[in-house]
């Protein structure tokens, strides 16, 4: 009995560390997926090219590594702890008893779980979209470039790619695994998602937001210099707009 208590203290510390790891990984995943989205937005447009697609692949692989690691750790975290003390029918024999901090522990882990699954779904939909677009605009021959849509974007994804490269996740250096192509990637993620959902019963509606609505307003200190709203930016042209034929000559 006493060993159980001793074990649980140590376990708690370990779990706390693991949770911290997962949280950082989650942030990294968020960064990578948002960069991926920025890259995917240019697919099929005049800014599309092999550089873009290579960068997308890199980003994808990185995301995949993070996802794999995160899913493994989260699974471990949540199955170790056993089912939550409240609200599950069969009380299985669990390693840790329902200690008071165990409940909060569990809640935090569940939150991480839900956040990861949401991120995974979101990323999956982006991947599917990208898959579809790459299929439609294969870019295998020179002529294909003629059909790219003139969206007004030049390139400029270099900085985005750099941002991706700067992402660090705790286990990235450790695990070097195979990078699948897009179709397999999607299949793998889908399998991961369903497996996670089946393995651990987490009531996702019990997770609550830590922020109130609108808390992010006005928000990011690092980004606020020189911010104009889109409306102001677009309005600006009204003053300096010249008639169309003039623009053609100077365009």
């Amino acid at each position: 009995m006493s060993s159980r208590w001793r074990r649980s203290v140590g376990e708690l510390a370990l779990r706390g560390r693991q949770r911290g790891e997962c949280e950082r990984a989650q942030e990294a995943l968020g960064r990578v997926t948002s960069c991926f989205q920025q890259l995917a937005v240019s697919l099929g447009s005049s800014a599309d090219g092999s550089f873009l697609r290579d960068e997308m692949d890199e980003t994808r692989h990185l995301a995949q590594r993070i996802c794999r690691g995160l899913s493994r750790r989260l699974l471990r975290l949540l199955s170790d702890c056993g089912p939550a003390p409240s609200g599950v029918e069969d009380r299985q024999v669990s390693d840790c008893g329902p200690a008071p901090s165990g409940v909060e522990d569990r809640q935090v882990s569940e939150r991480l779980w839900v956040l990861f699954l949401s991120a995974l779904e979101h990323f999956l939909s982006d991947l599917r979209q990208a898959h579809d677009l790459i299929g439609r605009f294969p870019l295998r021959q020179r002529n294909d470039r003629r059909s790219l849509v003139n969206t007004g974007c030049m390139d400029g994804v270099v900085a985005v790619a750099a941002r991706v490269a700067s992402v660090q996740a705790p286990w990235l250096t450790m695990e070097e695994e195979q990078s699948p192509d897009l179709t397999n990637h999607i299949a793998e993620l889908e399998a991961m998602l369903s497996e996670m959902q089946l393995r651990v019963p987490v009531a996702f509606w019990s997770v609550e937001a830590t922020q109130l609505a609108g808390a992010e307003r006005g928000g990011l200190e690092d980004l606020q210099e020189g911010e104009d709203s889109l409306e102001e930016l677009m309005e600006g042209e009204g003053g300096s707009r010249r008639p169309a034929f003039c623009c053609l000559t100077c365009g």
Binding site: E27, G30, R31, S34, Q37, Q38, V41, L43, G44, S45, S46, A47, V114, L115, L117, S118, E121, H122, S125, Q129, D132, L133, R136, F137, R146, S147, L148, V149, N150, T151, M154, G156, V160, R163, E190, Q197, F204, S206, V207, E208, A209, A213, G214, E216, R217, G218, G219, L220, L223, S229, L230, L233, G236, E237, R241, R242, P243, C247, L248, G251
Partner: protein, 655 residues
């Protein structure tokens, strides 16, 4: 977060093919061709210049040229492309139309093209709104704020993810060069204008209901698949065919008739609530409104079915029939409808009641249907089911349609309604007023409350039995129930308590206008004396004499009655007869020579007395004998109307 991935969803979740999307994409790609496509120009902003802007007029000209159509059509096509989101306007971004001038547009990047492959996720929208919030000077519009609050509530569990992702996306976007950032922001904004349209507009991606099977998937060639094809082909061979000239003619006629009445094809007065958010139109056209609108009244003249299906029209028609003393047809029809659409448990009861009220010999509101139908109906009533009264109902319906309907349209009731009908003025709302209307929208009454109101109204009408419809008999006959024509059906018991007879008897023979039938009914009364309810008879007397006068006059006008007979009916002898309540009328001297009252094909009056020689109904011999006995004697025995199938058990009747 959903469990989409793990469970097979057998519900309807496939979106109908929108073939226009694939075709639009082809056109769009053609537009990109450097030689034959659209010419673009740079867009000059304060901070930078962005290439690839195109003017509205260029788009229209290109489309007109490419498809060899006129400008108007090219313009609608262009507007469709904008509505779908393939091209977005740079100024006035909320109005998704093509303006045929120098306004600028730009192509949307394929990532933001509308697709049916993946549904538009609320998660993405939440992230977008959070991003808008993050911008220092970004303010959400009202509908966006509403969406935001709603999503915060429903996606609370992943809200942290949403905010985190919004911040990350914001940072990632910042990494790009300024012009590209502006372009991306425009693109994203345009995407959400298409898929989450502001109020007062409709998304072009609104495709209607989902389908049960995926139209884009290939179906396996199993035996079942071929079986279905075979069945389908067989059925289409067997289907009866109508000449296209006929069916098209019908369609044309329908369109021509209803064109002005369609609120979306033509102007609906005062204004279309779906467009202006002002509900006057609905208030003016409520089912139980006192004064209908002119358009509504005009619809009643289109067909009989229109008149009947509109509650107000039916009320008007009922009023007219009441004035003509022939409301039993409509009442019967309504009773049949009630039977058809009511609860299964009440079918037997209702069928019985209907028989007693409308179909049986001597029923208080007897309807005139031909013998064959009556035979079929009564036979069917032995085992009543929902549609047992269909032949009779159809017959009565056609009767009303061919006869009463025409007369109704020429009647003073209708003309009065037409004169009083209102024609509201058209609303002219300014943009500001439209916004206010939108804000002032309120949900309508709950259907539960509406149903309660309906039931109260029916109960009120049922309680309000019209005494001018009383027959001119001296006494009410207690055992004969009146079907008031409204549902909610009073319990039909063997001896109902309702007392009034609704209609006058026919004018059979010229010999004695009122005497014979009066005497017959009085005989009846006297027969029924045993179980009658004496209290109920009292109030009738006063009114009856008055109505008798009126009725006699009418009979005179209808013809066939000599003045002598008319006066005879007003003679003191009759009056004294009228005055008594429950006494045996001494049979007059002319009684034996009277011919049994002939049934005259008269639609407006009910025959209370059926001559015994009519052998249409499966009347038991015993009844017949009793009837003939009653004709020549004082009559004995209580004669209630019983349904023939009921008496089978007791009388061993013909069956």
């Amino acid at each position: 977060m959903t469990i989409r991935n793990t469970l097979q969803d057998h519900g309807q979740r496939y979106r109908p093919r929108m073939a226009s999307l694939k075709k639009s994409e082809k056109v769009l790609l053609e537009m990109q061709d450097p030689k034959t496509g659209l010419k673009s120009q740079p867009q000059r902003l304060v901070i930078t210049t962005i290439p690839h802007a195109i003017t509205g007029e260029d788009i229209i000209a290109w489309l007109a040229d490419r498809f060899q159509v006129n400008t108007q059509e090219a313009r609608s096509f262009g507007s469709m492309l904008v509505a779908f989101g393939y091209i977005y306007p740079l100024q006035d971004h909320k109005r998704l139309v093509i303006k045929p001038d120098a306004s600028l547009y730009r192509f949307q990047t394929p990532y933001f093209w509308p697709t049916q492959l993946l549904p538009v996720e609320d998660t993405d929208y939440a992230i977008y709104l959070a991003k808008r919030n993050i911008r220092k000077k970004g303010i959400l519009e009202m509908h966006e704020q509403e969406h935001y609050n709603r999503l915060h509530k429903w996606m609370n569990h992943k809200w942290d993810f949403i905010v985190m992702q919004a911040k990350e996306q914001y940072r990632a976007a910042k990494e790009r060069k300024k012009p590209d950032r502006v372009v991306f922001d425009c693109q994203e904004r345009a995407y959400w204008v298409v898929h989450r349209p502001p109020p007062g507009t409709v998304s072009a991606m609104d495709y209607g209901l989902d389908r049960q099977i995926d139209p884009n998937s290939d179906e396996a060639a199993t035996p079942d698949f071929y079986e279905r094809i075979m069945i389908f082909t067989q059925q289409s061979i067997m289907r009866p065919r109508v000449k296209s000239s006929v069916s098209i003619g019908a369609l044309v006629k329908y369109c021509a008739t209803y064109n002005n009445h369609d609120p979306f094809l033509s102007n609906c007065l005062p204004s279309n609530p779906w467009i202006t958010d002002d509900v006057t139109f609905w208030t003016l056209n409520m089912p139980c409104v006192e004064i209908p609108t002119k358009m509504r009244v005009e619809r009643w003249t289109f067909s009989f079915a229109e008149l009947l299906s509109d509650t107000r029209g039916r009320d008007d028609f009922r009023l007219f029939l009441k004035k003509e003393f022939s409301g039993e047809n409509l009442a019967f029809w309504e009773a049949c409808e009630d039977l058809k659409w009511g609860k299964a448990a009440s079918i037997k009861e209702k069928a019985e009641h209907i028989y007693k009220t409308f179909l049986a010999r001597g029923a208080p509101r007897w309807i005139n249907i031909d013998g064959k139908t009556m035979e079929v109906t009564v036979k069917g009533l032995k085992h009543p089911h929902r549609y047992v009264l269909d032949p009779a109902q159809t017959h009565i319906y056609m009767l009303m349609k061919k006869d009463s309907y025409g007369r109704y349209q020429k009647s003073p009731v209708f003309k009065d309604t037409v004169k009083k009908a209102i024609c509201p003025d058209e609303h002219r709302f300014s943009g500001l007023q439209l916004e206010q209307n939108y804000k002032k929208r309120r949900p309508s009454l709950s259907p539960i409350i509406l149903r309660q109101m309906e039931q109260e109204q029916r109960a009120k009408m049922a309680a309000n039995i019209d005494i001018t419809q009383l027959c001119r008999f001296t006494t009410p006959v207690p055992h004969l129930a009146v079907y008031s024509g409204f549902t909610d059906y009073p319990t039909a018991t063997a001896s109902p308590s309702l007392t009034f007879l609704a209609h006058t008897p026919a004018c059979p023979s010229p010999i004695s206008v009122g005497l014979d039938s009066t005497s017959v009914s009085e005989r009846r009364v006297e027969e029924a004396e045993g179980d009658g309810n004496p209290a109920a008879r009292a109030p009738v007397g006063g009114n009856v004499s008055r109505s008798r006068m009126a009725l006699s006059l009418r009979r005179l006008l209808k013809g066939g009655c000599t003045p002598a007979t008319m006066f005879a009916s007003l003679s003191p002898k009759c009056h004294s007869a009228a005055g008594t309540s429950s006494r045996i009328q001494p049979i007059g001297p002319d009684q034996p020579s009277q011919a049994p009252p002939r049934r005259i094909g008269n639609f407006f009056q009910i025959k209370v007395d059926i001559p015994p020689e009519c052998r249409i109904y499966p009347i038991e011999s015993e009844d017949e004998e009793e009837e003939s006995r009653a004709a020549f004697q004082g009559g004995v025995g209580a004669k209630e109307i019983i349904c023939p199938w009921e008496s089978l058990t007791t009388h061993n009747g013909t069956g």
